[in-house]
Symmetry: C2
Subunit: 312 residues, 2 copies
């Protein structure tokens, strides 16, 4: 019989809701609502939160207030406490904006498939890595920490299957430009645990557990099973989105980040420390969904909301 | 690092949609629709299918046509082929009806928690096992195969947590009355992979892999992660419901059987043989949902339907 289930004792839940979750919303999101959402996430115990993206406001209008968000005194107050805020930076101009807004942590990004890289960031993989090598170097010179994302590691909306070798190669190349952590992304939610094994195992061997994160989408229902497999392999950072908010504007059909509530519920059941207060998080996510008039996609949150309703 | 992912080479997907999936529907389901649903499931390659329940029609009106279904010549034609059809039988009267309708396979059921047993089947655990011991003996004398379900193994809507010891004890007692397989049920969808480990491991040791099935609900999003853990432990039969139909009328908040589409997608990704044609199954489930005016809860099926729409 298989060995006993073994997973890390503590896991960092890296919250991407305010950025990956909201970037693709068709509705306008009031600035105050964003601030109170972030405040709620911190109150619920989340410590690593991606707030926004220093991208072109005409391209991604929902991220247009990222500068204002980082400069906001309420957000700054949280940042001087235990919260660590991140933002996506696509180029040198983005880094300038991030630095001007007082951001201390940024993330750069490439893809495992050439077509997705060209369509999503307007550069091929080689070019994107050359650009981001410069951004990362300049950021570090400013004392800014740099994380990295690799998209479409398990499959591409344009090219279909991506081999584990190509996925791993992109992770390694991103790591070579000096990111503190590489987040291995299943952008369109096609991965299964066998694919996780094939990519994460060599990635962990090459980079070490602290420098690897898993970023799963629940498009086909497999995100939590993939997260479980990643945990068994020793991954200690998992990206997720409060309420299951999110998708990607350039990846057709890519709805559904792994919901933070579903992830934290499983982690609690596994006895893994997360520091997250699940009930408080549910209140925060449900409140945001209601204010936005948006359906909740997190299964745990749906069950929680229905139980809360019966209690009233 | 953890051992390589190891799962069985082939898995039996035990389809409970026509019974567990539809028993709780508020809408009337035309008889012809049920027949064509079952025909579709068989066409999609499912071989073990639970068709209905020989329960009181006034209590579970959606199952009132179970006798007619088993006696139907189209269903009989499938049963003389490779399909194996099952039905729930609550007592001696139910067994009479099953035998009269020509059913060759039945399932009996108890629970791991006393309160749930009393509310769901109107008997305590001891009494239910005494009744079902007689039903199982009489069934076998008629050449009828008997499967068994244990509900609330991982948690009870009335009593809360159920210890692995109590869950395992109920499984063992059900096994002692001679069922060919015990299906270990997470009726309200609270299990996480650690709980699966705690119950399934000793159950597999006691009963052997062929006599154990996992029956997971996706109420909190963990069903597929639990299924993955069960597979790693060597479980080779998993219950699921086409389209994610279902719930339990006596278990508040218990919506969402594990969707067959999500399960088969993961199994395919793991290289596990199932015999199921996933595209054909999606067509069947989507057609049923549309005819019933019902939302699809299977994540895979949602993604499949949205991709199919774009192709048109």
């Amino acid at each position: 019989m298989a060995a006993r289930l073994k997973v890390p004792r503590a896991v960092t839940v890296f919250e991407v809701g305010p950025r990956d979750g909201l970037q693709n919303e068709s509705r306008e999101i009031p600035f105050g609502l964003k601030v109170s959402f972030v405040q709620g996430l911190v109150r619920a115990g989340l410590r690593e939160i991606e707030l926004g993206a220093f991208v072109r406001p005409d391209r991604v209008p929902r991220m247009a207030d990222t500068d204002r968000l980082f400069a906001d005194r309420r957000i700054r107050a949280l940042a001087s406490g235990r919260a660590r805020f991140w933002s996506l930076v696509p180029n040198a101009r983005g880094l300038e904006r991030a630095a001007a807004a007082g951001a201390r942590r940024i993330a750069v990004f490439t893809a495992a498939s050439e077509t997705f890289a060209r369509k999503n960031i307007g550069m091929g993989i080689d070019e994107s890595l050359a650009v981001f090598a410069g951004v990362a170097r300049d950021a570090r010179a400013l004392g800014i920490e740099v994380r990295g994302y690799v998209s479409t590691v398990f499959g591409c909306p344009y090219e279909g299957k991506v081999s584990p070798r190509r996925g791993l190669r992109a992770v390694e190349r991103l790591s070579e430009i000096g990111v503190s952590q590489a987040s291995i992304g299943d952008t369109i939610g096609v991965a299964t645990p066998a694919g996780v094994d094939a990519v994460m195992r060599p990635a962990l061997r090459a980079l070490g557990a602290r420098r690897v994160a898993g970023h799963f989408h629940d498009t086909r229902g497999t995100a939590l099973a993939n997260a479980l497999r990643a945990l068994e392999l020793g991954v200690t950072t998992l990206d997720s989105s409060a309420g299951g908010l999110g998708g990607c504007p350039y990846a057709p059909g890519a709805t559904g980040n792994l919901a933070t509530e579903d992830l934290v519920y499983m982690l609690e059941g596994l006895g893994v420390r997360t520091g997250v207060d699940l009930d408080e998080l549910c209140r925060v996510s449900l409140d945001l969904s209601r204010r936005m008039g948006r359906a909740v996609t997190s299964r745990y949150l749906q069950a929680w909301a229905s139980a809360a309703k019966r209690k009233r």
